[in-house]
């Protein structure tokens, strides 16, 4: 952690980055080559997002930037200037798990859990644009998030269950 905070050579270019992470405002100086994943993990101590493939294939490093999923392993931190970053740590509210988190627990959507933060954040982005996805639509949207443990069936069930729960207040509102 200290290394990335302190090892700035004299004369290195720095870029001011003010951004909001999980609702909290931060102001940092980053060098152009610093990756968002490292800044979030090493400087902010939010270690939910994982580095795995490092080549934008697996989705373990997924973060939401203004609500949209990105591979933080290959995105320079300066891209977060003026934007909202969401990590898995900011998903629960007032000690209450997000419906996706709850559903992954209830429906066995994870085993080792390594892929889970990325899965849940990607699923959140999907449900925001499509609150009632079919299984096919879930597979299409989520195919870039790889899980080595579950075989995906339980993940899809978890997402379907969460989607249903998240729609419930909507349809209740519509009825009233």
């Amino acid at each position: 952690m200290m290394a990335s905070l302190m090892s700035k050579p004299r004369g290195a270019q720095t870029i001011p980055v003010s951004f909001i992470v999980n609702g909290k405002a931060y102001e940092l100086e980053v060098e152009p080559h610093e990756l968002l994943l490292d800044v979030i993990r090493d400087r902010l101590g939010l270690t939910g997002a994982k580095r795995s493939c490092d080549v934008e294939v697996c989705g373990a490093c997924t973060l939401l930037l203004d609500g949209r999923p990105v591979s933080a392993c290959t995105l320079p931190a300066f891209e977060a200037r003026g934007r909202q970053v969401q990590t898995i740590e900011g998903l629960a509210e007032n000690g209450k798990l997000h419906p996706l988190q709850q559903a992954f627990i209830e429906h066995g959507g994870f085993q080792c859990g390594f892929c889970t933060p990325g899965m849940i954040l990607a699923a959140k982005a999907m449900l925001e644009e499509n609150p009632d996805p079919t299984e096919e639509q879930i597979k299409h949207f989520m195919h870039g998030n790889i899980c080595r443990c579950t075989g995906y069936k339980k993940i899809i069930e978890s997402i379907l269950a969460a989607a249903k729960k998240m729609r419930a207040p909507l349809s209740a509102k519509r009825k009233s």
Binding site: E31, E56, T74, P76, G144
Partner: protein, 293 residues
Amino acid sequence: MLRRFRLEEPETVQEASQLLARHGEAARIYAGGTELLLVMKEGLAHYERLVNVKKIPHLDEVKLTDGFVSIGALSTHRQLLFSPVVRRHLPAFAGMEANVANIRVREVGTIGGNLCFAEPHADPGTLLLALGAKVIAAKNTGQREILIEKFFVDAYETCLEPDELLTEIRVPRLPARSGVAYLKFGYLERPSVGVALFLSLDGNGKSVGDARIAVGCVGPTARRIQEAESLLEGKSVDEASRLIAEAGAAAARASQAISDLHGSQDYKEHIVGVLLKRAFRQAVEQCRQRVEG
């Protein structure tokens, strides 16, 4: 690990071009970075300076003009997938974009970056060949229009000059009684074979007017296959559908398929034929709908 580089953030095409001219091989354009940063992280290339072009206004616009759909080079795959103009006027293009890469790459990667990197296993170039597209390259002193056929020179090589930016892609609007299909196949992260077909029917709707066939991913660059096109042009739709296997064989022969991780030459050539047959059925169906509708 990504080594240090300096970031430049020009606000006009001219400034960007001047930076490229001034720094030569030491500088590269950075758009989404989804290809460039991978190459740099893996140590395959190092550039001292990246020129972030995302602050240049209007380069991500999609517009409908009289003759063509104008696509800004900085449009991301996701933007194009959701663009009402693309969906309405180039549905096959929107369909292709829905299946490029994964959701995170589609969010960040641009169409310009895709074309300029000229990675052989890519989708848009093949479809743009069948659509008869042109691209606009701009530099400090002006701009030029390039036929997409001339744009791809070799694997990872385009005809852009070092200080030129790709700014726009121009896709001619589809005539009535026409259809376009793009089909791909692959089991690795990127496609192994891509086949695109544009077809128009002549006045009475019974025979093939223009055909444009392109094959991508199998060799160093996507290519138009005129040998296969001329087999179909001027034929009745029935005759053309009898000739489609022959056209597929011609397309496969001319595609310059090579054996690699994605499959052997034979295998890829076979799939070219299969996909062309399917593309033909889809395109004819679309032509007919447009005739009737």
